[in-house]
Point group: C2
């Protein structure tokens, strides 16, 4: 059975797997990354690739998903803030060192591809996956393939401006981006801004009493224990997410919207408010059903599986 | 040579034409509409269609573009506020009365198709057309075809929320939609809100001294004479348009963006500020060229030509 190798390059780790045509990971490995050392990351990807190739010598191609703005047609990382890369021809560098065809794409794009083929979007038709993490990423699947636009760098759903110039600043330099309002980072900020309120006590305690130490992860964990303040922070992020999803539906009308990423772990505490806000944002909603908004099914494996599928398509 | 009939149904008129395969209108007609009489509009479309069929008996199909939320796969107008229609099976009604296959789609979608084939987007690849009028419409062209999404009603670019819940109210019931900030209606509103300022004198005079009579059309005409106040109103709408286009580029990365519609008549007075705002909204703009933002080339004919092309595709 034909297998390919998928490698998921994150800010803190490189995860890789040998994936079969059913989307199953049949071997895997991971190593930590030092994001301050861009050259070391390439070495790390090669190391992971060689280890998996040793386990599966028949592998026909390698796919890599990485956070950043990537021109997938050329395998070039245009910019990757977390990895300190700029115009890095990652695809050809890796092909030289691994001796196999290498496809490179944005991590959210490959996660969307994996969800479409093997996950929550299986058989659903055109769809969008949104990943909530430190930032907000996204992938658009049209006709079963990743839609990248003319320059290969579309689907940056996190940088749809939804709250205008009076919205909170985003890491990209704009204000009011979806990422600035619905990412894990935004959840942490929203909680920190209200850390002085009596209601914030449980969240503050979970951060060892230090307001600056409150993160989206802490808010999510405290919310899952039922704390009303933490739940309200997630609901606020969820309402902003829903506003963005509503805009997205008005624009693209996908059959299904899949929400994944670490910051989406509290599930319905975010997705419930998001659905309600989305529905009130969709125009003509009285004449049609809003698309389902469902949690991602593949979890942390989506990056590896999607990268391996990408390799298969490019083989 | 094969010809088809295209019919453009607006709030004030029904325009129709016989169109050849080069996109040339070889015969045309138009009648006024009474938008308060939904049944009368169907009669009017049939009248226009029969007149054109008499002129071109060899016509093989009819295409209709109408403002509203339309399920093009079934030819059903889900809602059309300007025409007081709701769930009208316009396609099959017209097929019965005209005896030819009839395709129905949103007016901005067919305009986008016409621009892609014969206008400003010819040979450009995937593209977006935005129409500025009473509202803001849009059409997305992917792989040379209208992209409609899962339920056939996508590309409602005017209802991307860009200024959040604190933005001005939109006719759709939301706040902060692109339509509420960059349509001809929005230009009129912005000027009316500032009608008491001394700088607004020329615009106010053009409205016969009545602030309530200021429209986007008046602002556009006065701006073209060089009036700084009117130019600033158009620039403000242009900046909002650019913010929306920047979001659209982050999401879809089109090869070109075409701006048409009556309210876009002042051209660069709107498009200049729009380009600047778009460029500052696009992420990673240092690593790629922003797409060109160009005026539509087909003007008022885009609706008729696009509808005729739609008929050809469905024939």
């Amino acid at each position: 059975m034909a297998v390919t190798i998928g490698i998921d390059v994150g800010g803190t780790k490189i995860a890789g797997g040998v994936v079969d045509q059913a989307g199953t990971i049949i071997a895997s490995t991971r190593i930590p990354t030092d994001s301050a050392d861009p050259g070391g990351i390439v070495t790390g990807i090669v190391k992971v690739g060689r280890e998996l190739l040793a386990a599966a010598p028949a592998a026909s191609a390698v796919g890599v998903g990485a956070a950043g703005l990537i021109d997938a047609s050329r395998g070039v990382v245009l910019s990757a803030p977390n990895l300190a890369w700029r115009n890095v021809a990652l695809g050809s560098m890796l092909e030289d060192r691994l001796g196999l065809p290498v496809a490179v794409d944005n991590d959210a794009n490959v996660a969307a591809l994996a969800e479409a083929l093997y996950g929550a979007g299986r058989d659903a038709g055109d769809q969008v996956t949104v990943t909530l993490g430190t930032g907000v990423g996204g992938g658009i699947i049209i006709d079963g393939r990743i839609y990248r636009g003319a320059r290969g760098v579309g689907a940056e759903i996190g940088h749809m401006v939804i709250a205008g110039p009076s919205g909170p600043p985003c890491g990209c330099g704009n204000r009011g981006c979806l990422e600035a309002l619905a990412s894990g980072t935004a959840m942490g900020r929203m909680a920190r801004e209200r850390a002085g309120e009596p209601a914030a006590r449980a969240v503050l305690e979970a951060a060892n009493g230090s307001p600056d130490a409150i993160t989206g992860e802490i808010v999510g964990a405290v919310a899952l224990s039922g704390d009303p303040f933490a739940c309200e922070v997630l609901a606020e992020a969820g309402r902003w997410l829903g506003l963005g999803l509503g805009s997205l539906v008005n624009l693209l009308d996908p059959a299904v919207i899949i929400v994944g990423g670490g910051a989406a772990a509290p599930g319905e505490l975010i997705l419930g408010p998001a659905r309600a806000a989305m529905t009130s944002t969709i125009i003509g909603v009285e004449a049609r059903e809003p698309p389902p908004v469902v949690p991602a099914a593949l979890g942390a494996d989506a990056g590896v599986v999607g990268a391996a599928v990408l390799a298969l398509a490019r083989r």
